[in-house]
Symmetry: C2
DNA sequence: CGCCCGCATTAGACGGAGTCTAAAGTCACA
DNA sequence: TGTGACTTTAGACTCCGTCTAATGCGGGCG
């Protein structure tokens, strides 16, 4: 994702300090941060950045397909910079920890035509739930 | 679900007009209503029922395993009285229509040990997304 | 290089969904 | 029927996210 800024510039994005900082926060680690967590980390690098700008920028990154929205819990959406390699999620029901997982097989193929009700099915999300080792040992 | 009230009484539930009405709203049709939709339908039968009671009762039904919470979109949770037969969901990305589906195969078996990170995995939710026939023809 | 237009940022108001509280009501057992 | 614990209620409150209108600034043009 380190050439993200280049790609964005290529798409006509005006480059600003705020956008750079949001991209930096998402870069590197494969995390699943909420918008307010992104904001908190962005503020550490650029104290005057506003919540609205973080929301705006995340929304744009999502539209551009550079970041995915993930709704694993029923609270705040999480933003996933791992948009390159398709994957699903494994969530700890106790502490909320999230792992990227790659199940074998193609769940799309497991939905027979008789179960499609005439829909054009284009995507599938799989969320595994369980208890992480940390929470299990506590 | 028609003997739901019996089961609940058996569990020591105090039976009230409000709880009866919420159970009736959920009974029968296999719908996926939001809490406010449940409230609206409950009000039609018992005008003075409050939003808080609908939320309380839905929460209790969920704890008892009689109703499932479904978070197919990123807005309000939906309440699913079809807790008897395990199933997944197919959602229209355009109008939000929701269908119950029964994929072949067991997605839990598709998650190799090497992808479990020491978690005890107990559950999996699969959400298919696409466009329904109505929206496709429009 | 510096101007200037239009895009970007900002603070704060606003909205929807859900939770909480404290006061009032009512179920059900004795 | 009386009683006490359980339920219900209105409305305040929180959290997450969106919107607005005023201000700021990036960067192409002259
Ligand atoms: Mn991920
Ligand atoms: Mn369902
Ligand atoms: Zn955990
Ligand atoms: Zn549709």
């Amino acid at each position: 994702m380190s050439d993200l800024l280049e790609r964005l510039r290529g798409r006509g994005w005006r480059m600003t300090a705020q956008r750079r900082v949001v991209a930096e926060v998402l870069d590197g680690e494969h995390v699943h941060l909420t918008a307010d967590e992104v904001h908190a980390r962005a503020v550490a690098k650029l104290p005057e950045i506003s919540r609205a700008t973080v929301y705006n920028t995340l929304g744009e990154l999502v539209s551009l397909g550079e970041v995915l929205e993930v709704a694993t819990d029923k609270r705040a959406k999480r933003y996933d910079p791992n948009a390159h390699r398709p994957h699903h999620h494994l969530v700890c029901a106790h502490c909320g920890a999230i792992k990227d997982v790659h199940p074998s097989g193609n769940p799309l193929a497991d939905l027979p035509d008789s179960e499609r009700f005439g829909f054009t099915v284009s995507d599938v999300e799989v969320t595994y739930r369980g208890v992480c080792p940390n929470c299990a040992s506590a």
